[in-house]
Subunit: 580 residues, 2 copies
Amino acid sequence: MNKGIKLTRLIPILDWGRHYDSGKFADDTLAAIVVAIMLVPQAMAYALVAGLPAETGLYASIFGLSAYAFFGTSNTLSVGPVAVISLMTAAALGNLSLSGNAEYLAAALTLTFLSGAFLMVLGFLRLGFMANFLSHPVISAFITAAAIIIGVSQLQHLLGISASGQNLIELMISLSQAISESNFFTLGLGIGAIILLVWSKTGLRTLLLVFGIEERLAKTISRSGPILVALITGLLAFQFRLDQVGVQLLGDVPQGLPGLKLPNFSPEMVNNLVGSAVLISIIGFVESISVGQTLAARRRERIDLDQELVGLGAANIATSFAGGFPVSGGFSRSIVNFEAGAATPAAGLFTALLIAIVAVFLTPVLFWLPEVSLAAIIMVAIYPLIDFSVLRKSWQYSKADFAAVSITLVLTLLVGVEIGIGAGVLASILIHLYKTSQPHVAVVGRVAGTEHFRNIKRHKVETFDNLLSIRIDESLYFANTRYLEELVFKLVAEKPKLEHVILMCTAVNKIDLSALESLEKINETLGSINIKLHLSEVKGPIMDKLATTSFFKSLTGNNYLSHNQAVEDLKDSGKPLSRL
Amino acid sequence: MNKGIKLTRLIPILDWGRHYDSGKFADDTLAAIVVAIMLVPQAMAYALVAGLPAETGLYASIFGLSAYAFFGTSNTLSVGPVAVISLMTAAALGNLSLSGNAEYLAAALTLTFLSGAFLMVLGFLRLGFMANFLSHPVISAFITAAAIIIGVSQLQHLLGISASGQNLIELMISLSQAISESNFFTLGLGIGAIILLVWSKTGLRTLLLVFGIEERLAKTISRSGPILVALITGLLAFQFRLDQVGVQLLGDVPQGLPGLKLPNFSPEMVNNLVGSAVLISIIGFVESISVGQTLAARRRERIDLDQELVGLGAANIATSFAGGFPVSGGFSRSIVNFEAGAATPAAGLFTALLIAIVAVFLTPVLFWLPEVSLAAIIMVAIYPLIDFSVLRKSWQYSKADFAAVSITLVLTLLVGVEIGIGAGVLASILIHLYKTSQPHVAVVGRVAGTEHFRNIKRHKVETFDNLLSIRIDESLYFANTRYLEELVFKLVAEKPKLEHVILMCTAVNKIDLSALESLEKINETLGSINIKLHLSEVKGPIMDKLATTSFFKSLTGNNYLSHNQAVEDLKDSGKPLSRL
């Protein structure tokens, strides 16, 4: 490998940029327009979810998309503010006692920078596997719970009141205390906006098709619901001066691009936020690659997981110096980008350009945008994320998975996002260890007239009083070695005429040092009561490893390639038993 | 099961007590005498390691042994103060800011009670499997490091100075600061004691055999080194008034049995100690069952792990109300008990009785026992625990195990016991997850003329351009599903003419919900580019589980009992490739 290849791996734009042509340019431009129309209102809405001014959503989109375009490997991933990460940002910052907006923003930048730096480090150290510790069902449960919290938190804007809380209980109490101050103009506007948004997703498309509009265009227009809602409610607010009847408007949004902003790097702030940053990075990364990988596979393309860490890390670091907040690959936007035909990461760069144009030229009109419209956009956008089917599915398939799912769901809803996802990860790891700590082990006997061995509890098989054949259906490692020891000693105590124990290792894929020491202990202890230990059908890679130790030298019995051979060799001195 | 059986399971003495006879009584009495002679000086010595007065070691032995005799299931386990647990007790209490001996003792009782209660709860909930999360190599490394810390901490008594510290660095600094005040009478006495102890273990036995003493008796006498040392040094101190030349004596030891003592149950104290209590319980339990199980198996007896939790829990709770400190099954004492012929847990009861006699009648003579003698006894007793071979062994066998071992060893020595063992447990779990998150997966082809499939990288095999056969050598669960997805999509992207992917599941022992969702995702994604997914050789238990879901309905391909059948079925439309 020469340096050139390494550099194009680290900065993929050097590779695909060289082959860029006008066909791709046309595809990317169309996709960029479609995504930008969707992203502008969403980005501002998620900024409010994060507890930040609306313009920070635009900045996060511009810089997140641009940086990712240079370093990312997915042609279709659309990076920017996303719902769950914005909620986690609010939760992380809400834990701190911050006074004033400037301090809050500085802390958000610190969080963003730390997330970016953590992702970068994972990428350079090729530690992307850490994302694997989040199981699918736990993430589903977490996203469902987070979406519910976001939805409920938006009720305040829908009612035109002020409420706060990090979990469902706090939010409910806070909402119920202020509900008497609800503003009916705001509520009416919000309900109207929701109806329009839902209709544009379904009815509008059917209508357009009826009017003979081409399918793909109809689909694209039906996705412009959010921008339509923003335009219509903004016009209404301007025309009827809705601010005078209590409808909260977005107000002044600074015009132009952000100047260089500096995160707060005080050791105390870094210390307070580093845990949240790790959680945000991992959740964001998992969500990103999940959609990125699926979309890539649909075109027989590939994404490089370690380089994706670098790409997302760069996106967050760039955002942290431009007054934004943590970004990640958005699920629905990426699908839109994909379906609109994005051919390269340049589509993201063009989206960034369009949003920059909005930030530079169009912010004055944003003054009239009612906050409740953004709340309506959020509520409709996150609704599809709420999916309780994982509860039913896990209940049916595996009670262990159900336990992890319920813990995540309940704790996220009732305590908060960080405790919820943390407990979910811990629960799934502990449950996995528990399950593999009690491996499936069967005493086997030979099916008469064959060389096949089957569980004596399920089949009619021949056994011998001086032989014990045990098949282990799991890799042997520290969490299950004691179980094996206990089982062997128990079975041995039950068979007074026993002379040979044969461990059948067909399904043993690994033996770690703990397990090796256990085997040595079993061998030695059985040896002290004149019982020989044998192994059979050990896999090649394990044989290679065991051969580096003195295990086979101290083994009282033999190592057989075939279990049948072992039984043939050892049965002579014993009496056949018809049934154990 | 009727209530009677349950009760004898919970209180095993009701079972074995009924069959007790004079033969067993003779065996148990002999073993009790041998163990008591060994235990009296050790118990007092370990009390000093725990930072407590010498008599607490006697109380812990009396009550620990008695309670275990009622509830324990091992015939030979000798419960009482042990070195590592005593050190952990000192570390736990050293973390608190306690003023005065009474407060320190009350905290020790709280710690003991919490350990006992935790063990009991684990026993009743049948959660003994938690002990499995401690891997053998991590425990070996931890015990080696703990023994070194104990040994170094005893140097202060050997030199007749005062030093303190929770790790090697603190101890070294503290010792070096006080070394100029060393007392040479103390040092001389200590070195003499060590020489006598070492000689009694080796030379004395040979000498006795030369003098025609029977082998077993010689072995027993050679184990009385500690009591000999205590007698000789005590007599020297009394005769020559060694306290007047600066030799520290044990001084007044209260005579009689302890009254009822109450642990400190303040919420703050409980909160401070509960973490340490959990660590102490688990380490103590693991050490206990490790020796208990081996000794039981050597007589074809069994111990009941969940009931052992109850037995050890009862021992600690009893001790906590009698002014003791955490106890556990001692390794070397249990072997002595076993070899001396203990037949039932009554041997422990008799040992307790003998120690009670010492506490009631003999404490006045303990006044003259030099502390340095106890230090010498500790140093010689813990020396065999120091075993660095695990470093070499793990380095040779598996770098991953070596990493966990080194982390445990280094952190225990340099930071402290609790951080050390905590980091060791965490490291072994993470390393295990990491290893299984990158399972061994092979693209396989058919060995020409056979029905065997082998790795295409290792063997000359036939493959087809429209088929991809992947053998997975690991159970599928959340930590490795993403790896599988990535691999499949990568391989698919490389084969333009691909029509079928067949996953060969011979070594897949489990599929959790995450993995099921991954398979569904792979199936759906491949479906969208007209590639069919097939499974082959799925194991029975997994088939049963998958059958409860809609997986097979949505599977684009088939489920084959034999991989060869799958290839025969699907290869027709493809062209054979000589070599991929």
